[in-house]
Amino acid sequence: MSDPLIQLFSEVLQVDAAELSEDSSPDNLMQWDSLAAMSLVVAIEEKFRVQLSTKEIMKMSTIGLARKTLQTKKVMI
């Protein structure tokens, strides 16, 4: 079964899941621009039913950090 967070990033960024890793970030992924960042926030909030603060959003600069932030909010991924 594919990882739900990777799947979400893959869908929103329109990037094949195989090309994504915990280290993927705006620096190494062309598709992850500021508009995409906004769509990611919306998608994460909708899919995992959480509300992110601006501080948390700023921290999510890689997929791995996004996962860690979500885990502190008790999202099991």
Binding site: E11, S34, L35, A37, M38, S39, V41, V42, E46, L52, S53, T54, I57, M58
Partner: protein, 597 residues
């Protein structure tokens, strides 16, 4: 999945069109904003898809409004757009000046000048861009000092906003065919707090919550679609427990609920909304199982009735089925069943009509009566792009029609026709006719030979083209004025005059109007220096009534080109009893004034 998920619908559509590089889009829309508006795209797109369009959406870069107004191709790319929508906010474009309005009345004047500059930019775009142009109202500012809680003391912020927004609305109203998108109203409707997401504003300059983005996208979609989709033409209403509470046959005039207190108020407010729809040209009809005298008594005698008998175009009050009533009403009004909305409180009646007349749109009176007054406003059935004079007078015209019908029953056909004193005016279209002509082109189904739909700009372009003629037909008789009820578009190809479009409102048929129109088309074709007229009949599932029209007027069928052809030397003549005028000379005057703009 049964839930409506506009974002995934849009994503799938985008993926699908990637596979078809030569796809023809029929609704190319560009949106631009003083804020980030990308999140609107899927909602706008999904709404247009639900209306059967093949949309293509271009989102302009953030805050390029003025650039778009002065050179839209440079910003949006070349190619034609069907619609451009511009959304803007005061706090994005004029933040400092807006802040100064809080303590300096003079700043309001400065802000007004800036806003005027934006209106001028829109006017500039209107002249160069031919499609649908939509601009928003500025929503109430979200800025320190403008907080809604400050409104209790009629703050200077509120006063400045009122002055500016009224000024903007007036400026835009002066421009021809610029549609105002009420973003402020939409925010009010959602509520300031639920509409805004301050986190996204701070991070991405995108001020709105996801649900509110959906509200905006959907409403923009409705506005864009209203340019080409015909609104419904008639509401067929039940009476008991729909126009009033209770059952007139049992409760009596005193016993029914209708008045200023709930639940009577809900019914009364619903009637007010119906009257408003009537003022926009929607016909009202009644289909009720009742004793006619009981029902009429309410219309004639109940103090709290908002609707009077003259507001209702057709009454079907008897004990026959609603299905029969609806069919008869459609026939008497000469409109298709798909132009009808049926409102009833009885699920059985709604069920039967849904099953047996699937083209009719059915709406049930809600269990919660407080929702009744807004019942039809919530639907998209009556989204009008533009309301014409003909719309406003429709019920009165239908009333004159009923007198005509009664007269007809006592005379022979020939006597009747003569007695009408029919006056027909066929003329080359001028600017002031374009709105109505376009409306007819896009909604006439039955007497329509080719059913080619066109936007107002396309019609305008043809009306000033050298090798084409856009003709309108106006009809009057002794009972009243039908207004503009016929349209034809003629195109010259060598020595042939192609009847590109020929359509008429069904209300005027059978009096010699069609004979006259075709005779005048032939005369007009001669002025284009043609020898023959050629016309096509393109069948749809609604226009069977004109299948043999050309045959009737002695056109000869050419199976090779699938065209009907008549030589102008033996073209049909105008019937004797009709007073008719053909005015083509204005066309040149029209084209000169248009090119001087």
């Amino acid at each position: 999945m049964t839930t409506y998920d506009p974002k995934s619908i849009w994503r799938q559509y985008l993926a699908a069109i990637k596979q078809q590089p030569d796809m023809k889009f029929d609704m190319r829309t560009a949106i631009a904003g003083s804020m980030t508006i990308e999140p609107l795209e899927p909602y706008l797109g999904a709404h247009l898809l639900s209306k059967k369009f093949k949309p293509h959406i271009t989102v302009a870069l953030f805050n390029q409004l003025r650039q778009i107004c002065y050179d839209h191709h440079a910003v949006l790319g070349s190619g034609d757009f069907n619609a451009i929508a511009l959304l803007w906010r005061l706090e994005d474009l004029f933040p400092d000046m807006l802040a100064r309005c809080l303590d300096s009345p003079a700043a309001v004047g400065d802000l007004r000048r800036e806003v005027k500059g934006l209106a001028d930019a829109v006017a500039h775009l209107r002249k160069r861009f031919k499609g649908t142009l939509i601009v928003s109202t500025p929503p109430y500012p979200t800025m320190p000092g403008f907080e809604v809680l400050e409104l209790g003391q009629a703050s200077s912020g509120m006063m400045a906003f009122n002055i500016i927004s009224q000024f903007w609305t007036q400026e835009i109203a002066q421009l021809e065919r610029v549609r105002l998108f009420d973003l402020h109203g939409l925010v009010l409707n959602a509520g300031m707090k639920p509409a805004h997401d301050v986190r996204k504003w701070q991070l991405y300059r995108q001020p709105y919550t996801e649900p509110f983005c959906q509200d905006i996208g959907r409403m923009l979609g409705r506005m864009v679609a209203a340019e080409t989709i015909s609104p419904k033409k008639c509401v067929v209403l039940d009476l008991d427990n729909t126009l009033w509470g209770g059952i007139i046959g049992e409760d009596g005039l005193e016993g029914i609920q209708l008045g200023d207190d709930f639940p009577g108020k809900a019914y009364r407010d619903f009637q007010r909304h119906l009257l408003y729809l009537k003022s926009k040209g929607v016909l009202l009809a009644v289909a009720s199982k009742n004793n006619p005298d009981d029902a009429y008594e309410v219309f004639d005698k109940h103090d709290a009735m908002v609707l009077s008998r003259k507001d209702i175009a057709v009454f079907e009050i008897h004990w026959d089925s609603k299905v029969e009533s609806i069919k008869r009403a459609a026939k008497r009004l000469n409109i298709g069943l798909d132009s009808l909305v049926f409102v009833d409180d009885n699920p059985k009646e709604i069920g039967e009509v849904t099953e047996r007349l699937p083209d009719v749109s059915c709406v049930i009176v809600p269990e919660e009566l407080a929702y009744l007054p807004g019942l039809l406003a919530e639907t998209e059935f009556f989204d009008f792009a533009e309301v014409t004079d003909e719309d406003r007078q429709r019920t009165e015209m239908m009333a004159a029609d009923n007198i005509r019908q009664e007269t007809q029953e006592t005379m022979s056909e020939e006597e009747f026709r003569k007695s009408l004193n029919l006056k027909i005016d066929v003329f080359a279209a001028q600017k002031q006719h374009l709105a109505r002509l376009t409306q007819l082109i896009n909604k006439s189904n039955q007497f329509n030979l080719t059913t080619v739909r066109r936007t107002q700009d396309e019609v305008e372009a043809l009306s000033i083209a050298k090798d084409a003629l856009v003709l309108g037909m106006d009809i009057k008789d002794k009972y009243g004025d039908y207004g503009l009820v016929g349209v034809s578009i003629l195109r010259k190809e060598d020595k042939a005059c192609i009847i590109d479009t020929l359509l008429m409102s069904c209300r005027v048929l059978g009096r010699g109007a069609e004979d006259t129109f075709i005779a005048k088309l032939a005369e007009a074709a001669k002025t284009l220096d043609c020898d023959e007229m050629r016309g096509k009949y393109i069948p749809t599932n609604k226009n069977a009534m004109v299948k043999d029209l050309y045959k009737r007027f002695k056109f000869i069928y050419d199976s090779q080109t699938d065209e009907w052809i008549v030589n102008l030397s033996n073209a049909p003549q105008t019937p004797a009893h009709i007073d008719v005028e053909l005015r083509l000379s204005d066309k040149n005057a029209g084209s000169i004034s248009a090119s001087m703009v």
